[in-house]
């Protein structure tokens, strides 16, 4: 029987994406395995990469016998109604999902620009 994965897949997916982003350009599966904590199996990482590829989050190209992967950044057009659906997630206090940033008020946007424009903070 196959042992249960030690981490939930979602988390490993996020870690693989983080590793891929950390490496900059493209990476092979072996390079990613080396960058991940807790030594996940090569095949596990390959499966994750395949899933990410199917989701359209990474793109791949063949280099010799193996694929190399990179973060997918492709131009695709905007579908207005799906977008509205997502913006709803954001500031709902009853939500159990954690979003990277919530929508700012214009006052907060002003404060934020002020903080960032302070000399000495950029560098």
């Amino acid at each position: 029987m196959r042992p249960l994965p030690r981490r939930p897949l979602g988390q490993l997916e996020a870690e693989v994406l983080a590793a891929l982003a950390g490496l900059g350009g493209s990476a092979s599966t072996a390079e990613l395995v080396a960058r991940l904590d807790d030594d996940p199996a090569y095949t596990t990482v390959n499966t994750i990469l395949h899933r990410l590829y199917e989701k359209g989050l990474v793109s791949r190209f063949r280099a010799g016998r193996h694929y190399r992967y990179e973060l997918a950044v492709d131009e695709s057009e905007l579908v207005a109604d799906r977008m509205r659906e997502h913006l709803r997630h954001a500031s709902d206090p009853a939500s159990a999902l954690n979003r990277f940033v919530r929508t700012l008020s214009s006052e907060e946007a002003r404060q934020l620009r002020e903080i960032l424009d302070k000399p000495g903070e950029r560098g």
Binding site: G10, A14, M83, S91
Partner: protein, 296 residues
């Protein structure tokens, strides 16, 4: 029934109110744990007290049925519960349970939508990243994020989201959402808990990336790229982005390796004892143990 019946709940409500107003001088990971525990226990205490008073009111109305209720569930002083208190408790408990059910149903449908959507990047130019919990979960991203952010910035985003997933932040968020839904005056507690969770993930990302200023700028970049909403929509809640950015630009918080666990355990002990009291667990325990002592 006497004022002791409501004492544990009163203490919990007071504690929650204070924690909603005052920022804890702790590492965000400990603040989040403490706030989530308090939120969950307060909801339980409120529902427990309400249910308990309602049961006793029912016993007042139908004394014959009361004989079938275990002794520990009754006040024991055989004084009737006044109508005003009894009806109010029954109504509030029913409302609380209904709201709990509705909120939980909301999470399930929200999670389903998010899981379905997480299968492909969102087709929008707004940079969005959401941690979707569960086995089939992951990070929900938008095209705008993939396109507009450099690899180094995406690294920050993924580290932030994977911290949410690793620490199961959806459970904390659920406790906060519940307290805000069942006890609306305690919304500030939920807001503080959410901020603590984001700060926790920010600190994890900063640690992984090794550059606090860069994490701060990435958050600011994502926040400023969000479409502006009309004032009225956001009036009720602060997004917390300004505090997050300021905190990251300041000195890193102390990890509180001793105070954190101590305060968390202390808070856990106090809140769970109070909650147990509202649920009459002490009486239940005593009614189980006393016969054992008698056998000895």
């Amino acid at each position: 029934m006497n004022w002791f019946t409501f004492l544990p709940l009163a203490v919990m409500l007071a504690l929650s109110t204070v924690l909603g107003r005052v920022a804890l001088p702790l590492h965000p990971s400990w603040s989040a744990r403490l706030l989530a525990m308090t939120a969950a226990m307060t909801v339980l205490a409120a529902l427990g007290t309400g249910a308990f008073v309602a049961i006793n009111y029912a016993a007042t109305l139908a004394p014959s049925a009361a004989a079938h209720v275990p002794e520990w569930a009754l006040f024991g002083d055989d004084r009737p519960v006044p109508d005003t208190v009894g009806v109010a408790a029954a109504l509030l408990t029913a409302t609380g349970l209904a709201v709990t059910g509705r909120t939980a149903a909301g999470w399930v449908s929200e999670l389903h939508t998010a899981l379905a959507q997480a299968q492909a990047p969102l087709e929008t130019d707004v940079p969005i990243a959401v941690a979707v919990p569960g086995r089939r979960g992951g990070v929900l991203l938008s095209r705008g994020m993939l396109r507009g952010f450099t690899a180094a910035e995406l690294h920050v985003v993924f580290e932030h989201e994977s911290s949410h997933l690793r620490h199961r932040h959806h459970r904390y968020a659920a406790a906060g959402a519940l307290v805000a839904a069942v006890l609306p005056p305690l919304r500030p507690l939920n807001e503080r808990l959410r901020l603590a969770m984001e700060r926790w993930a920010d600190e994890d990302a900063a640690e992984a990336v090794g550059d606090r200023g860069f994490v701060a700028r990435t958050i600011a970049k994502a926040a400023l790229a969000q479409p502006h909403t009309a004032g009225a929509v956001t009036a009720f809640a602060d997004s917390g982005v300004v505090q997050r950015v300021e905190a990251l630009l300041g000195t890193p918080p102390d990890r509180n390796t001793v105070t954190g666990p101590l305060l968390f355990m202390g808070n856990g002990f106090v809140t769970s004892s109070l909650t147990a009291a509202t649920l009459q667990l002490d009486h239940a325990l005593a009614s189980c143990l006393l016969p054992l002592l008698a056998l000895r």
